[in-house]
Amino acid sequence: MKKYTVKVIAILVLLALALTSAAAEDGKVYRTLDEIKASGTINIGVFSDKNPFGYVDENGEYQGYDVYFAKRIGEDLGVAVNYVSTEAANRVEYLETGKVDIILANFTVTAERAEKVDFALPYMNVALGVVSPESRVIKDLSEIGADDQVIVISGTTAEDYLIKNNPEIKLQKYDTYANAKTALENGNAVAWANDNTEVIAFALENEGYEVGIPSLGSQDTIAPAVSKGNETLLTWINDEIVALAAENFFHADYEATLVDTYGLDYEDSLVLEGGGQAK
C-alpha cells in the first residue's frame, strides 16, 4: 500500500509539473495598454510596509516614492489605480501570472530578473555606501588601514562586494541591522558598509556619523517592471518617464516622500530623471 501510494503521488506531481511547464509556453498572461484603458483600472503591485518607498498611512491610504509615481501613471492613463500589496519574494510571480500590470516596488534591475520580466527605464539609483564616525571619516576605501575592521551585515550586497573587490579589508559580520548598529556605536570598527539608502538614513538619524563614501561599486537602478512581452505598456511607461523629465517629476516625488529620510543632499545622486538620459 505504502509503496503504491508513493508511486502514484510521484506520477501525479510529475504530471502537474508537465502541465504547468507546457501551458506556460503559450498565450499571453498580461493585459495590453488598450485592454487596461478599456477596463478603467490598472493593477499596480507596490510594497505596503516599506516606508518611505511604499507604505500605508494611518488612514489606510497608500503612500511613498513608488506610490507617488503610481498615482501619476493612473492620472495620465485616465484610469483608477488598484494597489496590490506585494512582498519582495513574490514580485516576479505577480508579473509572470499577469495578476498585476506593473510592479513599482523598489524593484532593483538585475540580469536574472530581466529574463523573467521586462524592466522599463529606471527612476532611481542604488549603490553601496560607507558610513563612519565624524571623528575619522573614511572617504575612500584606501584609508582603511591593515588593522581596521569594517562592519557588514551577512548576506548583503555590501558583503559580497567587499569580499570580491577588496579582500584585504577585514570584515566584521553581523546578522541583524540592530547588532551592526550597536557595534558601530560601540566603536568596534572604523566604518559600516551597506546599501547607500540605509547608511544615509542612519547618518541622518544618528548624531556624529557621516557618509564618507555615498556610492561605491556598481550603480544599480530601480525601475518599473511589466510582464515579459507586454510591449504596448512598456513603451507607454518609457515615454511617460521621458516626458516627465520635463517637469522634473522625480525630484518633486523625492521632495514629497524621501526628503524626510534622506535629506536634500542626496537628491541628485539618488533620483534619476528620464531614465538617466539628459534632462
Binding site: V8, V29, S48, N51, Y55, V56, E58, S85, T97
Partner: protein, 224 residues
Amino acid sequence: MQSLGLEVLFKGKNFERLMGGMWTALRISLISIAISMVLGLLLGFLMSRGNRFVRGLMRCYLEFVHIMPQMVLLFLVFFGTSKTFGWNLSGELSSVIVFSLWGTAEMSDLVRGAVTSVPKIQYESAMALGMTKGQVNLHVILPQAVRRLIPQSINLITRMIKTTSLVLMIGVVEILKIAQQIIEANRKASPNAAFGVYLTVFLMYFLLCWPVSLLAKRLEKRWG
C-alpha cells in the same frame, strides 16, 4: 505607556484597520472551516467504509496535502492556476480553496480514525437489534465518533485560524499585514511601536481562538 508604542493604534483609522484585518482572517477561516467540517465528515466516512480504490485515492489526496507546506499550496493555487489554466482567482478565494483542501484532508483523517475506533461490538449489537446499515451509522456510530472528534477538531480549527497569517504572501491584507504596515509607517515617529502592535495582534488571535476552546470544553462536558 509611551515606550510600548500603543499610541500608534489610535492614530487615524489604525484600530479600525486592524479590526478589518481581523474580520478578513475570521471570514477566510470560518468559510473554510465550515466547508472542511462537512466534506471531512463525508469523506472520512467514505474512507473508513469505502473500497480499496476509494481508500487509495483518498490516501493520495491526504498525503499530498500533508506533505505540501500551506505556503506552497497557496502559491500553487493563486499563481499556479493562472499560469496553467489562465484563471484569475482572487487572493481571498485562493485562500479559502487552500484552507478548505487542507482542512478537509485533516478532518477526514480524524473522522476515519474516530469511526474505526468505535468498537466492532457496537455494530454487531446494533445489527442484532434489527437496525439497517444506515440506521447503525446515523444513530450509533456517528454520535460516538463525533464525541471522540471534538478535541482534535478544535485543535485543527485553531490551527486553521492561526495559519491565515500566511495569506499575506498572496496579497490578502489581514491582521498581520496591517500590523506590519502600521509599524513601518510609524518607523520614525514611534520606533517602539512593534511591541505594542504585536501585543495587540496576539490579543486579537487569542480573541479569535479562545471562544472555540471554550465551546469545545462545554461540548466535551455535555457529551463526555
